[in-house]
Structures are given as structure tokens and as C-alpha cells.
């Protein structure tokens, strides 16, 4: 497993005339951890859905290691090496935790025993191994978030899209997840793009941050640059009243 380079080139998407995303371009280098932030409704999840194949962009293109993936079906985007989690978690409720992750593992390991062993290994890494025989619907929200990550990782992606996996976690749990992702990234070189509101995690993980607001990219830079960026401050804190 190694990381892939992601390139967004002027992608846009409208829903019945409502412009959700307009002309957004940025790159995530292979092996990097980058973050996508912005206020609620800025279009972050729409951007994820265009990368993951849920929506076809109206304009622009998405490339993974130079290969165009925009317009492909979600399962083919997964095949190309993109794993994603859902902001509103989507476990296979009636299946056990192990079976959930096994479904993901089956993608590249068609034999059920292989897939199951691989899934168990991933659950071990995410600290869900003890709960592997529990039904997914019986998990708490933090565990469901971890299950989302485990299931996406089981498909052996080259790019992992994490949609607010820290939301609802306690500070100590956030630190555990951050450490896990850092360790995963340095061990495998997996490229990670995360949407996140928890700044503690964004600052710790991301080498580069893209900020979107009202569907457009308004800033891009290192965490230190973004923290000082006037447009970002305006978006988050409101513009200063002229004296």
C-alpha cells in the first residue's frame, strides 16, 4: 500500500441551479495528509462526493496519480484506490463489526477466509477487535466512526477520504485517532484528505489546509499560514466592522 497523488482541477457542481461548488482546484501530494475545512454548508462533502464518484462534476476533473476518476461509479473509484468514510456514519447495521470490515476487505481479497483475517487485523489496529462479534448497530458513535475508518482501510486504498471522523469523540479519543492516522501514514505512505472541524486534529495532522466557503476555495496553505489568513478569519469570526 502506498499513497497516490490527488489532483482536483476546477471542479464544480450545481444542484437545480444552486451552486454548491464552483471552480475548486487543489492537489494533495502522494503520501501527504491534507485537510479541507470551511463553515457548514461550504461544499466540503460535495467535493468529497465528487472525488468518490457519488456525483459527477459539472465542470473540471479529478485525477488520481494522473488517471481521471471523475465520472466513474463509486465502486470503480474504490477500485482505483479511493477509500472514504461517511459524515453520517453508514454501518451495515445488521452485520457484525467483523463482517462489516470483511465486506471492505473482499474487494481485493475475494476469498472469504483471507478477507476475514485481513479485516480482523485492521480491527486490531483500530482497537475494535474486542467488539468484532457485536452487531454494528450496537456500537457507540465513536466506535461507529472507527468502524467507518476500518471498513474504508480494508479496501486497501491509496487515498483515504475522512469526513469528520473526529466529531463526537472525546479529546483523548481524538488523540488516539490522530496518533493512529499519523502512524498509518508514516508506515504505509497512504495519502489522506480529511474534512474536519476539530482544529486540534487538523493542526496536528495536516501539512497543508484548503479552506472553502460558499463553494469556493478561499485559501490554501500550511496550518500556520491559515491561522493568520485574513479571509479565513473573516469567514470563521465574521468581518470586522469598519470603525
Amino acid at each position: 500500500m502506498s499513497g497516490a497523488r490527488l489532483e482536483l482541477d476546477g471542479i464544480g457542481k450545481s444542484f437545480r441551479g444552486l451552486r454548491a461548488v464552483h471552480d475548486v482546484s487543489f492537489d494533495v501530494p502522494a503520501g501527504a495528509i491534507n485537510a479541507l475545512i470551511g463553515p457548514n454548508g461550504a461544499g466540503k462533502t460535495t467535493i468529497f462526493n465528487m472525488i468518490a464518484g457519488v456525483y459527477r462534476p459539472d465542470a473540471g476533473s479529478v485525477r488520481l496519480d494522473g488517471r481521471q476518476v471523475s465520472g466513474l461509479r463509486p465502486d470503480l473509484v474504490c477500485d482505483a484506490g479511493v477509500g472514504r468514510t461517511f459524515q453520517i456514519v453508514k454501518p451495515f447495521k445488521g452485520l457484525s463489526v467483523l463482517e462489516n470490515v470483511t465486506v471492505g476487505a473482499l474487494h481485493r481479497r475475494p476469498a472469504l477466509p483471507d478477507a476475514r483475517a485481513y479485516a480482523a487485523d485492521i480491527l486490531m489496529q483500530l482497537g475494535l477487535h474486542d467488539r468484532r462479534h457485536q452487531a454494528a448497530e450496537s456500537l457507540t458513535l465513536p466506535d461507529r466512526k472507527r468502524l467507518e475508518v476500518a471498513r474504508a482501510l480494508a479496501t486497501e486504498p491509496k487515498l483515504l477520504l475522512l469526513d469528520e471522523v473526529m466529531a463526537g469523540l472525546r479529546p483523548t479519543e481524538i488523540d488516539v485517532m490522530v496518533t493512529f492516522l499519523q502512524e498509518l501514514n508514516s508506515r504505509t505512505g497512504l495519502t489522506i484528505l480529511l474534512i474536519e472541524h476539530v482544529m486540534r486534529a487538523v493542526m496536528a495532522l495536516a501539512s497543508n489546509i484548503v479552506v472553502v466557503s460558499y463553494g469556493e476555495k478561499i485559501a490554501e496553505g500550511t496550518p500556520a499560514e491559515i491561522a493568520r489568513h485574513q479571509a479565513v478569519l473573516d469567514v470563521y469570526l465574521g468581518e470586522a466592522e469598519p470603525a
Binding site: 457519488v54 474504490c78 445488521g94 473482499l106 477466509p113 471498513r151
Partner: protein, 332 residues
Amino acid sequence: MSLLARLIGGVPARSLWCLGVLLVLLLVAPTLLGKYGLSVLILVLYFAFVGQAWNIMMGFAGQLSLGHALYAGVGGYIAAGLFFHYGIGPWAGVFVAVAAAVAAGSIVGYLGFRFSLAGVYFALLTIAFSEFTRIAFDHWGWAGGSGGLFLKVDATSDILNLRGGPLLFYYVILALAAGTFVLCRALLESRLGRYWLAIREDPEAAQAVGVPVLRCKMIAIMISAALTALAGVWNAFYYNNLFPETAFAMGRSIEFTLAPIIGGLGTLFGPIVGAVVLTGLGEIFTDLSEVFHISGLKQIFYGLALLVIVMYRPAGVWPWIADRFGFGEKRR
């Protein structure tokens, strides 16, 4: 790993023993049972078989079909028609019958799944197709139209043309039901089976982890239609008559769904247990209404019994039995 090892892997020895004993009992049952008993057991196996076929779509892949009479009807009519008109025996005709049912299933499936009809909307589509077909057969001369198609009743045993007494039909339906049981187990323990469960639980999440949702649903409806067509062929040659009004009836489609629902959706044994319970209750209530000379008593009690079962065991009878007696097959 060999196929056999995969099939029985993870199954408790106790369950395997029980299955073995059950199979032996079913094999010798005709010598133990009278004519009546055998006819009841034939019904049980028939409903277990079609129930398993329907369960692949609803229980495994989560797609509600209320028009499965379509596949049984098409299968039965084609095999019976080929025999009636051209003397082509059902062992050959069955291939045409199954192919036609699979084609019908593919059309219904493609229209429904390609355009993302889900839940009740898909169910309505399946009903619509079953109804169109009923009306078409009402007017199709080759199939006898609304007057029906009759096969010559012939009790002399002619296995090559599937002509014979109840004993022959008993062993054929037993082989079909047992074979489908093994097939269902093999499917569940395969990638395709796990993909079906994932689609049933959440199609969007399934697709995100690489499941080709449309293709998997299409395979489900094709396998289910093929098996249901086999049941239709068997049924046509067992009863020797076919009418569009009954072969494609809404009631028949509903009948196919009852055993798995009562027994336990998505389980291997559910359709079988459901068929035993339903046929058993049906026979008991038929007898009762004869004893008390009240016609209609059967329907009332039958309905009440279903109501009670669904109320108190919504997951089905089999998961409850499995839990209590430690057979350990849960709904997956």
C-alpha cells in the same frame, strides 16, 4: 480449501448431525407416511423450495419482489407447453423455461435497479410485470388462453417425461429443496453473498467499498427467478393444469413470501421452518373447519395464526428456535 470444507466450515457438529438425520428421515419418509402424509410433506417441500428462492432476493439482497408468480408461471407454462404441443419432455424443456424466466427477471431487475427503484416502488414494478404477463397469457392461444392448459393425467411412471405418482414428485422436490439449501449456504459463504448482505444493509456504503451494486442485484434476481421457474415447472407437471388466473395471481406471489417471512428472513433454515409451520397450520385448520362444518374457519384461523407469529416473533420462528436450542444461526 475444498468445497465441502467451505460449506461445513464453522457449523457446529451438532447441527451437522441434525441435518444428516433430517435428510435420512426425508429420504425414507415415503415408507413411513401414508398417502395423505406424503402429500402434505410434498407441499412443505414445495413451499420451502420457493421460499428459499424468494429469500435470496429479499432475505439476502434486500430486494422486495411481490411478483415472483411471474417466474413460476412463465417457467411452468413454457415447460408444459413444449411438452403438450411438441412432446418435448420437461428435462429438456426446463432449460428453455428457466432461460425465459431469467430473461423476464433481467428485464424487471434492470428496469428497477438501473433506475434505482427501491423498496415498495420496486415491489410495485414486480407486481405490474406479473399482472401484464397474466393478461398476456389470458390471450395467448399457444398457452391455452384463459381456458387453461391441461396435461394428460398419467400415473404410469415415466421418469423421462416427469410423469408419475406422488412418489416421483416427492423425490424431485426433495432434491430441489435440498440442493437449494446447499446452494444458499455456498452463496452466503461467498463474496457475492456478503456483497448482497451489504447491499441489503446500505447500498450506498456498499458501493463505496467497491461493491458493484447493480451487477450483484441482477445476479440475485436471475438466480432467484431461475429457481422459482424450476418450482413452476415442477408445479405444472404435478398438478397437470395451468390457468393464468392462478399461475400469475397476486395471491401466489404472496404465498411464496410467507414461509421465509414466518420462518426468518435472510436465514438458511427460515424458509424451511416457515414452510413446516404454515403447511402444518393450514392442514390443522382445514381439518378443524371440516369437523365443525364451518367453511371459512380455516382462513380466519390461518390469518390469526400468522398475525400472532408476526407479532411475537417478528424476526421469524427459526431464529427463536435456533437461539433456544443452540443451533446458532442468526439472521445475517
